[in-house]
Each structure stands twice: as structure tokens, then as C-alpha cells.
């Protein structure tokens, strides 16, 4: 296996992610995976990989890397001022790089997380059927941790592209988010204030990471007499947890069980948007029924499939 990239400066703790570790949650091993799975998938399709290959997830401040082998790369997601050998280079497009090239990313100016894909996929070992890093569990990715200067990223076997690929539009991430959410699983503890929650705007706090996004805004109050903590039970990604201070937290992919009530759950078709929220962005939650959520999931699935067809034009993708 060839080393494709050497990290010269890590930026803000990038991690290797794929589509997550779905089957080990009964052991407390979290889902993990790319928080914006759309940008992750597109990065892979742009370099000829299947959606399940591992990419590098970079949050707010990107790394500087030396290219060690001829590969195709693509950077998607947050606008991070990609530069190749000092010159500005486009994101959402494939770029052929060669040994000795220098790839640099800066501070995110739109969105929060960027994804770097390498043809053949980042070939760190699979742990429990996934290459995703869980910082909480200290597993996956490169030794279960964020990357540091000096780390080498291996690439799997994958042919180089016959012709470059480009997403014909550039996604922009709004600073006012509208997230569709299904009430529950503890909406019965918030009967008095459920409408308030859905009417109000909240702000993403800087205290956010891969575990969850803390929100600030109007206090979300439990009903009189409702318990402030519950007997611990499983949680889903996107659950809007309300701790005792009444300031909600959108739980992401690093927790399997929780002990605080959750007023609502962001629908799966909107979860990627949370991954691109920046500190200071505003958010409003809109209530939808489970049936509406299911339709949104189906539409989102169709949109992903259409994007894949557009980028791959029916060519086979590298399996990782």
C-alpha cells in the first residue's frame, strides 16, 4: 500500500471518516462517520471512489500536506481556500497531483467541515467494518486519534481518472439554518413548551464538536414535575437533548446512550446540514411528521443517486 499524503501541519484536528460503524452500538461503540455525508460522498465520487471510501474530515481550519504519490484528490464541503503549490485551486473538482506537490487548506469561510478524498480511498485499517475515527472510543482512523504533523495517509489501490470530474454547482451553506425535526422521544415531558421550541431561533455555540452542537437561546423548560434526568436509554444522531440548564444540544454521531430528555430529533435528510453549522449561525426547528421525514429521506436518497450518476457517468467506482 502506498503512502499518498504526509501531514505537515494538522490544522484543527482532522480525522479519517467514512459512512460510519453501524453494527456495534450495542457495545457502546458509536456510529461515527462523516458529519456532512453529502460532501463526503461527492468528494469520493469526484476521484472515482465509492461513497463508502474513507476521506479526511477537516473542521474550521485545514491541514497542510505533502503529496507522496500520483493520485487524484478532491476537496468538498466548507470553503477552505484550497491551494496547490501556493496557487488557488478549485474545490468540488478532481485534481491530479504528483509526488512533491503541496496541498494547503486554510480557515473555513463558508461552512464548517471540508472533506479531502484521495483516489483509492484513505486505506487505514478497518475496525469493526469501518475506517471512521471515534475520538471518544480511541479507535479507527489513524490510531484512534486526530491527525498530527508527520502522519502518513495510505491510499488504496484505485485507477486514476480517465478525465477530470467536477460538480457543476458549488453548494453554499447558509448562516440561518432550518432543520426539520420529529417530536420526541421525550416530547411528553415538554408538552407546555413544545410549540415554543419550534417557534424560537437558537444560535450555534462555539462549544460544539463531533459529539454534539450546543445551542444558546431561549430556555427550553421541562413541564412542571417532569424529571430533569431519565434512566439512561439509547439515543439517535440528531436528537435534541435538553440538559438541566434548558440550552439544547444536537447530538451527533459519537454517543450511543444518554441520560437527558430529548425534545425532538432532526430528520436524517437534514443531519448533514448540522455538520456544516458554524458557531454563531442561527437555527430554527420545524416540526414534521414521521411520514414527511420518510418522504424527505427518500427524496434525499434519490438526490444522492442522481449526483452519483452525474459524476460517475456510469463508470465503476473503486471499492474500499
Amino acid at each position: 500500500m502506498k503512502a499518498a499524503l504526509r501531514i505537515l501541519a494538522a490544522g484543527a484536528g482532522p480525522t479519517v471518516q467514512d459512512l460510519g460503524r453501524r453494527q456495534a452500538r450495542h457495545l457502546g461503540i458509536p456510529l461515527s462517520g462523516a458529519l456532512d455525508d453529502y460532501a463526503h460522498r461527492v468528494a469520493n465520487w469526484l476521484v472515482g471512489n465509492g461513497a463508502g471510501c474513507a476521506t479526511l474530515e477537516m473542521t474550521m481550519l485545514g491541514p497542510r500536506c505533502e503529496v507522496l504519490a500520483a493520485v487524484d484528490v478532491a476537496v468538498t464541503g466548507a470553503a477552505m481556500g484550497l491551494r496547490l503549490n501556493g496557487a488557488a485551486a478549485p474545490q468540488w473538482t478532481s485534481i491530479r497531483v504528483a509526488a512533491g506537490d503541496l496541498l494547503e487548506l486554510g480557515t473555513a469561510t463558508n461552512g464548517c467541515r471540508a472533506y479531502l478524498a484521495v483516489s483509492g480511498g484513505i486505506a487505514v485499517p478497518k475496525i469493526l467494518a469501518s475506517r471512521s475515527t471515534s475520538l471518544v472510543g480511541g479507535l479507527g482512523g489513524v490510531q484512534g486519534r486526530a491527525l498530527m504533523a508527520g502522519d502518513l495517509l495510505p491510499a488504496g489501490a484505485g485507477p486514476l481518472l480517465a478525465s477530470p470530474r467536477r460538480l457543476p454547482w458549488t453548494p453554499l451553506y447558509p448562516d440561518h439554518l432550518v432543520l426539520r425535526a420529529v417530536a420526541g422521544p421525550h416530547d411528553h415531558l415538554f408538552r407546555h413548551h413544545l410549540d415554543d421550541f419550534f417557534d424560537q431561533a437558537f444560535t450555534f455555540s462555539p462549544q460544539s464538536n463531533r459529539l454534539g452542537c450546543r445551542l444558546s437561546g431561549p430556555t427550553v423548560a421541562l413541564d412542571p414535575g417532569a424529571p430533569a434526568s431519565i434512566v439512561s436509554e439509547p439515543v439517535a444522531s440528531g436528537a435534541v437533548q435538553v440538559p438541566a440548564d434548558g440550552q439544547p444540544i444536537v447530538l451527533l454521531n459519537e454517543q450511543t446512550i444518554g441520560g437527558y430528555p430529548c425534545i425532538a430529533t432532526v430528520i436524517s435528510a437534514d443531519l448533514w446540514r448540522v455538520g456544516q453549522a458554524r458557531p454563531g449561525d442561527r437555527v430554527r426547528f420545524v416540526p414534521v411528521s414521521l411520514e414527511e421525514a420518510r418522504q424527505a429521506a427518500a427524496q434525499w436518497h434519490d438526490f444522492l443517486a442522481a449526483t452519483e450518476r452525474l459524476l460517475t457517468a456510469g463508470r465503476e467506482s473503486a471499492r474500499c
Binding site: 457495545l27 461503540i29 472510543g137 420529529v182 422521544p185 439512561s232 439509547p234 436524517s268 421525514a293 427518500a298
Partner: protein, 241 residues
Amino acid sequence: MDERDMLGASLFATVRFRIGGDRMLLADYGQGVDPAVNERVRRMAALVNGTGHPAIEAVVPAYCTLAIHYNPLATDPETLMHLLRDLEQHLESAAVPEPAVIDIPVCYGGAFGPDLEAVASHNHLSSDEVIRLHSHGRYRVYAIGFSPGFCYLGGLDPRLATPRLTTPRLRVAAGSVGIGGDQTGVYPLASPGGWQLIGRTPLSLFVPQRDRPVLYQAGDSIRFRPISAEMFARLAAEARP
């Protein structure tokens, strides 16, 4: 009427469902910390796993609740509720393996258990009595979570209950055995922590590369077996890859 009003028993007559977004269905079989409720959750988890249903991604048991994580493009909650009700009807006759009993060797006190004496003096016991009471208990694994392999154990002798540290430690070594309030448990990974540490196991509770990454499942029981420092060193050396 509050659905959660109970008439004495904590086991529900029949399952109650809750919605956790469009990818998770929660099935409640009772309430509180109760071995009978948790046993029903455990048996239901085994039955659901046994179906091998292709739309079910993960089955996660906890104290009173079973979570079914599913693919919303491949099934819907009504279908899953029907499946769970159906399985529950055959719960009594279904063959489900008994929960396992796992022995965990623990070297109590000394450098491994810096808070053993604090737990003893808080409860007006000697250190030896703390060790005796703690290692005579049988602890049910009510749930696994919070971090990989971390088990929520029930069954701590109330005579050992001790408040958490006022200032949590920044780093607790993997394998540390502690008491926090009326709970006891083992830290599978090094992490910050506020429990009173009374000992340490040389076993690696969580090894992601192992065939069975975690040694126990929810519903199993754990016993702590006191060992000497010499035995600790020997077992720790054997456990090393």
C-alpha cells in the same frame, strides 16, 4: 392520563413505543432499575437479532428500553412495531440463551485503589470489609454505553455507596474500578472521571480488534474477584499482545 402511571409493578403489561426520529424506534418494557424489566429487554434484543431483519441496522438494549436503529428506506416503524409485538407474544416459549456470568479479577487498594480508604471511612467500614462486600456482589450489566464497553452496573451493596469526588480526576487509568454514588463500575478506557477508585483489573475490557471487542453483553452479570498485586502483574503480562 399519564401513560407512565404505574400500579405498583415496574414491568409494563405490554410494550410501549416511542419515536426517536426517522431512524430509531424505542420500545419500553417497563420503568426504573429493575432486573425483571431489563431481562425482558435482553430477551427481546436476542429475539430481534435472531430475525436478521435486513432493514435493522442495530439493536441497542438499555435499562428499560430497546432501541431499533433502522434504515427508513427499507422499513417503517409500523412494520417494526408489528414485528416486536409478534416476537413478544412468543417471548415465554422462545429459546434465548441465559445471561453469562463474567468474573473480573481486581487488585483492590494500593496505587490501583487510591480511594479505598476514603470509601471505607465514609461508610464506617475497614478496607477489608469494603473489598469483601464489593467482591461478594453480583452485578447486572443493565446497559453498555456512554463510551465503548462502559457498563452501567446494578446491585451495589448500599453499605458501599459513596459520593463522587468533588473534583474529578483528569485521567483515570483503563481498568480502574470505582464507586460513584450508589453505582459501581469499571473504566474500560483511560478517561477523566469522578468515581472513587477502589481497585483495578488487569483485563482489557474493550479491545476493538478482538473477535469479541467487549467481554460482556447487556443483561450479563459481573463478579469481581480479588487478586494480589503479583497476580495482577502476571495477568497484565498475559493480556499484552
